[in-house]
């Protein structure tokens, strides 16, 4: 098994559809037909895949595609092939911080960025005036188009097989001794009773959701409870001891487009030069002038009064379950910031869709009152509510139970993506509910939710954010599931390398008590981790370490990376005296005290200067560089941040050093011989940080505790072999295991220098 996987996973070049190599497993032509192996269900020869992905939401599709790109024979099991690629509540992708993630997923050859370039109807770069490091590319996406494109993509990925059905249970076996964990997953049991063996399994379904839909005072269970086919899986996970937390979120009512008076509202035009998400796209698919617009309206005191007067009818808002601080419901905005007006964005759902998504209006009042609220808002006086807003509470898997590669600590080879950060997938069903009376509507809604067996990975963030947290989770889980099968080291991204790294570290170290939203301020090295250089940061690593990046993309990245380096060198070599610069570019003020020549590199840092301007001064050396528009723009950005990023090198080195100080996964914080207070020990035990760097980010851990732990790690490193690190009890780790961990965990070239 391992040998065949290794063969399949040899440095893998993208295989174009139709030219799949002979070792590729048979792909299904008609997906409605049962796959060939399922006919043999029950026989001894159970089907065998490298990676099985359960769930076809955003996380599932991205994970399955990533694993397949890496060369793993992958099976995607989803309840309904039709729902693959269905957009969640919010018909948008990207935003501030989230645009960065999209770029990084694209740098690893993920799907969503390329698909957005083929399905957007409104592209807008946010934060234009705040510096390129925080530009946030965002797009309103046509739901129908996106879904079509996604299905086309998934169904044409080599090595990827899609199976429509349910998963009944996990197949478990004895754990591998060299990794922590209670047991090891070896495959899945399908709803039809057949078994599929797998090298690793990625779970992206909301088995644990215990979802609860709330409208007014009504509460209805939703999600997968009572879903016969998944109770086995749910029970297995519960039995294994996975910890869950509970979160809440909400979604706004939907409005009929033709009943809104847009003429009196502020119109937000899309960019006249839409910037594509993907490094591979030259342009987006839509003509700039064909793009749709968004509109802006505001709340008013009347809205506030209705909400205040009817608080008693609002269970969701009153309850203590943690909701998002960042994208709060209209009710909590009104309660928290009274006497202020709040923005409401009216967003289109597609080119030929009559539905408008009122961003910022998420609420859980009884539907009649929601209609009242809507009609007292400017422009919406006659608006028809197509579907009411509602709140959702749900369980999520505590992400601290996962390693940075998203493999669970409890069960070896079991990866999670999707619900772990508290994303639910109720939106899917909700979007399809047609307008009807309130009471019926709730019933319809619930039946939809249950009937469609909501998949997680269809996110929640009710603000103008989007669900591609699942996408990155998916891509990382997919890559690592694939690497795990062929016994390669996991692919993790450090906080110094990408937003994905920050996100995973935050979630797996700190956990989350509210739906996690990416901000640029969470990122220490924002000036370096920019959307424009995501490819040069991640593509080479993805290509060399995982094989999930195509050679075409790799070569393109290498080419532009080399061109930028060369460009910087040329800019540094071109020098003129300050007086000469002043006469050539009168707009800039060069300090008069300088007498030595000034480099073109320094001049490009001025906001008024760009490559075109410099090319006019040095046509021979810079003419070619300036003509390549992408290169010219990237050079300008690179130069502006160069000083800051080189100053940060030392700080980044420190972070890397801290991250290189790995803590053994099974360390028993209650018994180690380090001076730590009980409180610290409990915190460390529940967070299970993987590195000293992660320890330092756990809130409430004192510098002294970090120091003592650091000393403990270092002492043990020095006495490797001589000392036995106490490990968590209750796990039958073989004796030699402790030694292996004691040694291997501290092996790092960085360490020898650090000590």
């Amino acid at each position: 098994m391992a040998a065949s996987a290794a063969v399949a996973l040899r440095r893998f070049l993208p295989v174009m559809p139709g030219v799949a190599p002979s070792m590729s497993p048979p792909r299904l032509l008609s997906l409605r037909l049962p796959p060939p192996w399922s006919r043999r269900a029950g026989s001894d020869a159970a089907a065998r895949y490298d990676v099985v992905v359960i769930g076809g939401g955003h996380a599932g599709t991205e994970a399955a595609a990533a694993a397949a790109r890496g060369g793993a024979r992958t099976l995607l099991v989803t309840h309904k092939i039709d729902t693959i690629g269905q957009m969640s509540c919010n018909p948008s992708f990207g935003g501030i911080g989230k645009g960065h993630l999209m770029r990084e997923v694209d740098a690893l050859d993920g799907l969503c960025a390329r698909l957005c370039d083929r399905s957007g109807v409104h592209y807008k770069m946010l934060n234009r005036r705040k510096g390129p490091a925080v530009w946030g590319l965002r797009a309103q996406v046509d739901r129908k188009l996106y879904k079509e494109n996604m299905q086309k993509e998934i169904l044409n990925t080599p090595f990827l097989t899609v199976h429509e059905g349910s998963v009944e249970d996990l197949l478990l076996k004895e754990p591998e001794s060299e990794h922590p964990g209670k047991c090891q997953v070896s495959g899945v049991l399908l709803g039809d009773g057949s078994k599929v063996h797998a090298g690793s399994v990625i779970l992206t379904t909301g088995t644990f959701l215990r979802g609860m839909v709330l409208i007014g005072l009504e509460k209805h269970p939703a999600g997968r409870l009572g879903d016969q086919s998944s109770t086995g899986l749910a029970q297995t996970l519960e039995k294994l001891g996975f910890a869950v937390g509970r979160l809440k979120t909400g979604t706004p009512p939907r409005l009929a487009k033709d009943t809104i008076d847009f003429s009196i509202l502020a119109r937000q035009w899309a960019d006249s030069h839409p910037v594509p998400f993907s490094f591979l796209s030259e342009t987006v698919w839509i003509k700039p002038e064909d793009q749709l617009s968004c509109y802006l309206t505001y709340t008013n005191p009347k809205v506030e009064k209705i909400i205040h007067d009817n608080l008693y009818l609002n269970n969701h808002v009153k309850e203590t379950t943690k909701g998002p601080r960042y994208c709060p419901s209209l009710e909590s905005k009104v309660l928290r910031f009274p006497n202020r007006i709040h923005q409401l964005w009216l967003e289109p759902e597609g080119l030929d869709s009559n539905i408008i998504y009122p961003q910022g209006m998420s609420m859980t009042l009884p539907p009649e009152l929601q209609e009242q609220v809507i009609t007292c808002i400017q422009g919406l006086e006659k608006a028809k509510m197509v579907q009411p807003g509602y709140g959702v509470q749900y369980d999520f898997l505590d992400p601290r139970q996962l390693t940075a590669s998203l493999e669970s600590r409890l069960v070896q080879r079991l990866f999670f993506a999707g619900q772990i950060n508290g994303t639910t997938g109720y939106e899917e069903a909700a979007a399809q509910v047609r307008c009807c009376t309130a009471a019926k509507l709730v019933l319809r809604l619930l039946s939809h939710i249950q009937a469609l067996r909501i998949l997680p990975g269809q996110a929640v963030n009710a603000l103008r954010s989007c669900n591609h947290f699942d996408v990155w989770q998916g891509i990382i889980a997919g890559i690592n599931a694939c690497l795990r099968v062929c016994g390669k080291p996991p692919f993790t991204i450090s906080r110094t390398e990408g937003y994905i790294g920050v996100l995973i570290d935050d979630l797996t170290t700190l956990g989350t008590s509210e739906p996690y939203r990416m901000f640029t301020s969470r990122v220490e090295f924002r000036a370096f981790l920019r959307p424009d250089n995501a490819d040069s940061r991640l593509t080479p690593r993805g290509f060399e370490e995982t094989g999930c990046v195509s050679r075409q993309r790799y070569e393109r990245t290498s080419q532009i990376k080399a061109a930028i380096e060369e460009g910087v060198a040329v800019l540094k070599s071109l020098q003129l005296p300050p007086s000469k610069w002043s006469s050539l570019i009168p707009e800039i003020v060069i300090s008069s005290s300088r007498s030595s020549p000034v480099r073109a590199f320094d001049i490009l840092q001025y906001p008024e200067v760009n490559m075109e301007l410099l090319a006019r001064i040095f046509p021979e050396s810079l003419g070619k560089l300036a003509e390549w528009r992408e290169l010219a723009e990237r050079l300008k950005i690179e130069v502006v941040y160069k000083l800051c990023t080189s100053n940060q090198q030392q700080e980044m080195e420190e972070v890397r050093r801290d991250e290189a100080l790995r803590l053994p996964e099974n360390l028993d914080y209650f018994t180690i011989n380090a001076s730590l207070s009980q409180e610290m020990r409990e915190k460390l035990d529940s967070n299970r940080p993987q590195t000293i760097g992660a320890v330092s980010r756990i809130p409430g851990i004192t510098p002294a505790a970090i120091l003592n732990l650091l000393r403990f790690v270092k002492t043990n490193r020095q006495r490797t072999g001589g000392i036995k690190v106490p490990f968590r009890t209750g796990r039958s780790l073989p004796e030699r295991n402790t030694d292996v961990l004691g040694k291997s965990e501290f092996q790092s070239s960085n360490l020898s220098r650090a000590f």
């Binding site: 501030i96 709040h342 001076s675 610290m680």
Partner: protein
């Protein structure tokens, strides 16, 4: 199964010991001063403290926590009574170190103290504390932050009254609080700017938050600047004010040094140019610590050795906090107008202008009328405060000391008034970097907001480093450099040149250098002059070395051979004596 129950037992044990790992040593040391005294306090810290207290008092029950109890103290081995004294029991975490602590207040005679220490040392799990270990444990258990720990270190090392007041203020966390307040303000400003970057497009974050950030940063800029422009008074108070005696040859500079330190520290002769090297000594003037340097007379010397001496004198003048300009009164008396010119030749040429005292020596040689003329010449505003002095007759000493005290107070400030002062160069370094970053923020605001925000982050990082709220490696560096290992660094430096111990002790009659002074201070030897001498030819210490032996003995016992210096002192000084 067995492993499981064993683990839970361990965990239970760990919980019982307040989370301090059960294998952690218990340390003990004399915490009161060294030498014969009325009462000596012996302290233990660590999980075995309770056992130690039980064994030494011979009773099973412990005294009420944090209350004084009178107990007979016995040797647990022989049950022989050692003393009768007060014992206090501090169960963790409510103790100085955060661990279980016990204190034994016994009579201060060396025999009693060493008896109790030996008894403690024989108990299982107990060992003598390393220097600074109690503070280190307090820091490690989160009882002190870095500035507080530094303050405590200074408090222990404080030799003068003013130093003590400053250290106490710092230990109580005032300095830390100040830095923390700034850090909080900066954090808030940063939060505003971050909110503007991350939310302004979607949510209602008003444009005016940026104005608020600018105002806050400008305010902080002013406060930091003010704090930094305190004339280094905190650091001076901590490290000693550098007072340099300068003047033309044969004006009586070395005599003045000998007069002030009341012993013949420097060689004095009527031959001009006797002093070649810089001679340094430490003093306590009116509660302020002073590092006093005598320098070679300033003239165009021909002799290469003297030339080097003059060049060293000028170097030392550059570093002076206060200059004592010594001029020959008898020589100037006929032409008082030459005073200003003579003084100018002595003062350091480059800015900033340093505070100065004009000392007109050899007043005993003056006739009454020329004395009046000189005093008149000095009375004007153009010259620094002056006094007439005779090193020979000691006339004018009181005036000089009064003037000197006034200047010192001016330089160091009153440590109890105003905001707490900077006490460490480390603090100054980070504050300056912080201020630089704030300046760059103002300059960068018009351009890229991300770069401006980056500067605020950097500024906050520098503030955080002072109180130890930053990344793990940083804290480790700081702690090892400035806190407990700082002392070792000094030791290493000394040892690498001449071999430890001996270089610390120095030759008879030679003043210890500043590192030697500090090193000696850190092992508890009070220095001001060489009280420690190398062993005589007989292998026994002679003369003033006695005092050092006593210190050495205690250090040896409490240090337990830990740290290079203590063990050396032990073997070289104490062993032969005891032997």
């Amino acid at each position: 199964m067995r492993a499981g129950s064993c683990g839970s037992l361990l965990r239970w044990l760990a919980k019982r010991s307040y989370g301090c790992a059960q294998q952690r040593d218990t340390v003990f040391a004399v915490s009161s001063g060294h030498g014969k005294c009325g009462v000596a306090v012996i302290r233990t810290s660590g999980p075995a403290s309770a056992t130690a207290l039980r064994r030494l008092t011979g009773r099973d029950e412990l005294p009420r926590p944090r209350a004084v109890a009178l107990r007979r103290i016995r040797d647990p081995g022989s049950a022989e009574p050692l003393d009768r004294g007060l014992v206090v029991w501090f169960p963790g975490p409510h103790s100085f170190t955060g661990e279980d602590c016990a204190e034994l207040h016994v009579h201060g005679g060396p025999a009693v103290v060493s008896g109790v220490l030996q008894a403690l040392g024989r108990l299982p799990g107990l060992r003598p504390a390393e220097p600074g270990e109690f503070t280190k444990r307090a820091f490690q258990n989160g009882k002190l932050d870095l500035t507080e720990a530094e303050g405590l270190g200074d408090l222990i090392h404080a030799e003068t009254e003013a130093q003590r007041r400053q250290a106490l203020r710092q230990m109580e966390g005032e300095l830390g609080q100040l830095y923390q307040r700034w850090s909080q303000e900066l954090t808030q400003a940063l939060a505003y700017i971050e909110a503007f970057i991350d939310f302004s497009e979607d949510d209602n974050v008003e444009e005016d938050v940026l104005t608020r950030v600018d105002t806050a940063v400008a305010q902080l800029d002013r406060e930091l600047r003010g704090h930094l422009q305190d004339g280094r008074r905190g650091e001076r108070l901590r490290g000693g004010v550098h007072v340099v005696i300068a003047g033309p040859p044969n004006a009586g500079k070395s005599s003045l040094l000998n007069l002030l330190c009341q012993r013949p520290a420097a060689i004095v002769s009527p031959v001009p140019g006797t002093t070649r090297d810089v001679v340094e000594t430490t003093l306590n003037v009116g509660g302020y610590p002073v590092v006093l340097s005598d320098t070679a007379g300033l003239r165009d010397a021909r002799d290469p050795v003297e030339q080097e001496g003059v060049s060293r004198a000028r170097d030392r003048l550059q570093q002076a906090d206060l200059v004592l300009a010594v001029l020959d009164a008898a020589e100037l008396a006929p032409q008082p107008g030459r005073l200003a010119g003579a003084l100018q030749a002595v003062l350091p040429p480059s800015p900033p202008p340093r505070p100065c005292l004009l000392v007109l020596n050899k007043a005993d040689l003056l006739a009454e009328q020329s004395r009046g003329a000189l005093q008149q010449a000095c009375a004007g505003d153009t010259l620094p405060p002056a006094c007439l002095l005779s090193c020979m007759t000691r006339e004018g000493t009181a005036t000089l000391l009064r003037l000197l005290g006034g200047q010192l107070q001016h330089i160091c400030g009153d440590p109890l008034v105003g905001s707490p002062s900077l006490t460490q160069t480390r603090h100054r370094l980070h504050l300056t970097s912080c201020l630089d970053a704030l300046g760059r923020y103002h300059r960068g605001r018009a351009g890229d907001l991300v770069l401006a925000a980056e500067e605020l982050r950097l500024a906050r990082r520098h503030l955080g480093r002072i109180t130890g709220q930053v990344g793990a490696e940083d804290i480790l560096d700081i702690v090892f450099r400035d806190f407990c290992i700082g002392k070792k660094a000094v030791f290493k430096g000394t040892r690498s040149t001449t071999g430890l111990g001996w270089s610390l002790l120095g030759a008879p009659g030679e003043e210890p250098s500043l590192p030697q002074y500090r090193a000696a201070q850190s092992i508890g030897v009070t220095v001001g002059r060489p009280r420690v001498q190398p062993l005589g030819p007989s292998g026994k210490a002679e003369g003033p070395a006695r005092e050092a032996q006593v210190h050495g003995m205690y250090m040896g016992m409490s240090g337990g051979g830990e740290g290079h210096l203590c063990s050396r002192v032990w073997t070289r000084l104490v062993n032969p004596v005891l032997g």
